[in-house]
């Protein structure tokens, strides 16, 4: 008796295989897969001193901002839309699927709210003689001069505009699972294709929220590195002297298609999303369960969903934020899932170079995972000068040439969000 086997169109559970036929990426390192791949494998950092706004008085004055794209006004939802559009244009063009996208849209977007320049403009228009109040802002809003900002600052607009731009079908999904959002966008697309609801899905993670209040919020939670000098040395995943993450920006887009449909139209298949796993954690708002059980469960769920044993994984694209807590828990989780093999299983964190791209991270790192498979080269974890001896990992300190067929990509977020993906070159 042999175990059920996958075919070229269906996995071992009889579900449609989900192929990737297009990818697009924007980070602080550049625009497009080629530019990003060159920089990532060269070990170049996109982290720099923040130029977008004054950083006087801040403990953290660095970030991986995308400075070569901008918007007017320069606000998070517009930047996020711009990054997403650029990434999706690349992915859709590569897929050759056409100008009217024949499937749904799943886009991970940062939470939206009005920003300080707009509050200030309303306050000025209100002209209250003494204290500025929300009553004054409301009266200014009622002047009708600011009506265009309504759509800018509601949650559905980014997805709405991307849906219009690419002609996706049905109701677009805007979602958040905090720092695992990008992976969740992919998971939702995979699930929809497996259900047979659609033959293709456009899955995007995007984040353009490096602004004073977002930075300060993370700073107040002591989540950010304060090693501002030199900026490119601050993000040190798995190092003993790691002291927090560095905010990053960017977007990635993936065109997912049922393998059957991709083959039928003669598309080039770049790889497959073989499995998705998730597990909630009710321990604490920002910390993982001390035993790592939810992180472990999410990784195992992704492997189970892919129908693979841990030994089938060649490389872990880590969440690797460079916070003391995350890297410790991720190492603990990997040790539990991979056993003693963890010390020989190459693991690397793209965040060492591009920072933590938050809502976009899961999608960006899935794209990097696919590029890793295609090129047989694992991008390094830069700044790995002082290994944390407590973490028994094979951290890739310089780009490593090695055949890679299957990657586990981890994403973990505030609020007990844990989402893992298994990406591969061939069906399991």
């Amino acid at each position: 008796m042999s175990a059920p086997r996958s075919s070229s169109t269906h996995d071992a559970q009889g579900r449609p295989l989900v192929a990737v036929t297009g990818v697009g990426i924007v980070t602080s390192l550049g625009r497009g897969a080629a530019e990003n791949w060159d920089a990532l494998t060269a070990g170049r950092s996109g982290i720099r001193s923040i130029a977008r706004f004054p950083t006087e008085g801040l403990r953290t004055r660095i970030a991986g901002t995308v400075d070569f794209l901008d918007t007017d006004p320069l606000v998070a939802p517009l930047l996020s839309e711009r990054f997403a559009t650029v990434a999706a244009e690349e992915a859709v063009a590569q897929s050759g699927i056409g100008a009217r996208f024949p499937g749904g849209l799943f886009v991970a977007v940062p939470p939206v709210e009005m920003e300080w320049p707009q509050r200030q403009a309303l306050a000025e228009a209100a002209g209250e003689p003494d204290e500025v109040t929300y009553g004054g802002l409301q009266r200014a809003a009622a002047s009708r001069r600011f009506d265009a900002w309504h759509d800018l600052f509601i949650f559905g607009t980014v997805a709405d505009r991307i849906a219009d731009r690419f002609g996706t079908k049905g109701s677009p999904i805007s979602l958040s699972t905090a720092c695992s959002s990008g992976a969740t966008a992919i998971q939702l697309g995979v699930e929809a294709i497996r259900r047979g609801e659609m033959e293709a899905a456009l899955c995007i993670g995007t984040d353009g929220s490096v602004n004073p209040e977002s930075l300060i919020r993370f700073s107040l939670l002591s989540a950010l590195s304060t090693q501002n000098d030199p900026p490119e040395g601050a993000s040190k995943p798995f190092s003993k002297n790691r002291d927090g993450f560095v905010m990053g920006e960017g977007a990635a887009a993936l065109v997912l298609e049922s393998a059957e449909s991709a083959r039928a139209r003669g598309a080039t298949i770049l790889g497959y999303v073989l499995g998705c796993g998730e597990k909630g954690d009710g321990f604490h708002r920002t910390r993982s369960s001390p035993d790592g059980a939810p992180v472990i469960a999410a990784m195992r769920a992704a492997l189970d969903d892919a129908g693979l044993a841990p030994d089938a994984i060649d490389h872990v694209n880590a969440h690797g934020t460079s916070t003391p807590e995350n890297d410790k828990m991720e190492a603990l989780g990997c040790s539990a899932v991979f056993g003693e093999r963890v010390s020989r299983l190459p693991i690397s964190s793209n965040k060492s170079m591009i920072g933590h791209t938050l809502t976009a991270a899961g999608a960006i790192e899935a794209v990097v995972s696919l590029l890793t498979i295609r090129h047989g080269r694992i991008p390094p974890t830069i700044n790995y000068a002082v290994p944390d001896p407590a973490l028994l990992l094979d951290v890739v300190g310089t780009a490593r040439d090695v055949p890679v067929s299957r990657v586990l990509s981890n994403s973990f977020g505030f609020g007990g969000q844990n989402t893992c993906l298994v990406l591969g070159d061939e069906p399991a």
Partner: protein, 378 residues
């Protein structure tokens, strides 16, 4: 291999609004059909439908948890607790550790005093960048961020109630509530998961949301009027509300001896470009797609914007000329993301009470999205 036709049943409901808390309070308020409780003073000129007073300790026992949440999260965690109670699983850690969540939500409250003081101070400074940095660093509560983050309603439900299967948070105003129900249903129907809790929470009693919705002129002033009788362009009256539904495959519910309150059918929704007549046509088509037969009532989530409400009613009438239409806005106001989950929960309550065999819930977003939800007796 398709298992898309598995029946999905509702086994738990949690409701909180200006009409009170729980199933009975809402059935009674619907039957009474009086005007909803309205506060036209606190946020004048904007009326709101304030949430009924809640005994928070009954669902959120730890004061430390209550303190770490803002109102929108407390309402949602409270309603989620009611839904778990109603499903008989509050103390079933096995059930809750497998239970997955889809939450439809926006974001949380701001610190209004801090914002006002900063905006006041910014007028008098020569170095606004440094001033803003200094004030935010010193005046923002570190935990406020977590009380604002969209996915932290789900996070708090995990922490307070031990619901730890996994969660996804959908954003995007009214349509996110419809999408949450659609995808929650589809995942169970297709066999991807056995149990889900779907819902959302909205706090209307906060001046920042009135700024956002006054931009564009979407709010009704200065007094509540029934949703379908609003003059000029109409507008919405924001309402604080939370609604959660525990959904299960019928087999799963039967196996644990749970009562099916109602059956949720596949949700039909779309997002058409807005042009005269397009919303009507979309709704009519979606009613067909949803397989509506002979509904006892249509529960409309109409926002109160006059033209959209007229299109919605026309779209429903074209498909269901005989069926009465009631606006949930006349019961709880407009709670954006929560409108569709609330309507679906109320529909399930009617079916469970034996007062309806089939209920249609409609949702037309104020900027985008049309949805039709069909709930039938189990």
């Amino acid at each position: 291999m398709s298992r898309r036709d598995r029946a999905v049943v509702v086994t738990g409901l949690g409701l909180v609004s200006c009409a009170g808390e729980g199933i009975e309070a809402h059935l009674a308020a619907f039957a009474a059909a009086g005007p909803p409780r309205t506060d036209a003073e606190s946020f004048a000129p904007y009326p709101v439908h304030p949430v009924a007073p809640l005994a928070l300790d009954t669902q959120i026992p730890k004061k430390s948890d209550q303190r770490q949440m803002e109102a929108w999260q407390r309402l949602g965690v409270y309603a989620a607790g009611l839904a778990l109670d109603s499903a008989g699983v509050k103390d079933d850690s096995g059930f809750k550790s497998a239970l997955q969540l889809i939450v439809a939500a926006g974001g949380g409250e701001r610190d209004y005093a801090v914002d006002g003081a900063i905006l006041t101070g910014l007028r008098g400074t020569n170095d606004p960048g440094a001033y803003l940095n200094e004030r935010l660093l010193n005046d923002l509560r570190p935990t406020l961020f977590l009380a604002q983050l969209s996915n932290l309603l789900a996070g708090n439900i995990s922490i307070v109630h031990g619901v730890t299967g996994a969660s996804r948070t959908f954003m995007g105003e009214e349509s996110s509530g419809v999408d949450a129900l659609r995808i929650g249903h589809a995942r169970i129907a297709s066999g991807q998961v056995e149990t889900m809790m779907v819902g959302g929470s909205y706090s209307a009693e906060r001046p920042d949301v009135m700024v956002v919705h006054e931009m564009g002129g979407y709010l009704l002033k200065p007094d509540y009027r029934p949703v379908f009788e609003r003059g000029d362009g109409g507008g919405f009256v924001l309402g604080s509300a939370a609604a959660f539904l525990v959904l299960e495959s019928a087999e799963h519910a039967a196996a644990r001896g749970a009562r099916a309150l109602a059956r949720l059918m596949p949700v039909a929704n779309d997002r058409v470009a807005r042009a005269p007549g397009s919303v009507s046509a979309s709704l009519t088509r979606l009613i067909g797609e949803a397989g509506i037969e002979r509904p006892d009532v249509v529960l409309s989530g109409a926002t109160g914007l006059r033209d959209l409400a007229a299109e919605e009613v026309a779209g429903i009438r074209a498909a269901l000329p005989e069926t009465g239409i009631r606006a949930t806005g006349d019961l709880i106001g407009h709670p954006l993301e929560v409108a569709a989950p609330f309507g679906a929960a109320l529909a399930a309550a009617f079916c469970a009470a034996g007062s309806a065999r089939e209920v249609v819930v409609t949702s037309v977003g104020h900027r985008r999205g049309e949805g039709v939800i069909r709930v039938v007796a189990a």
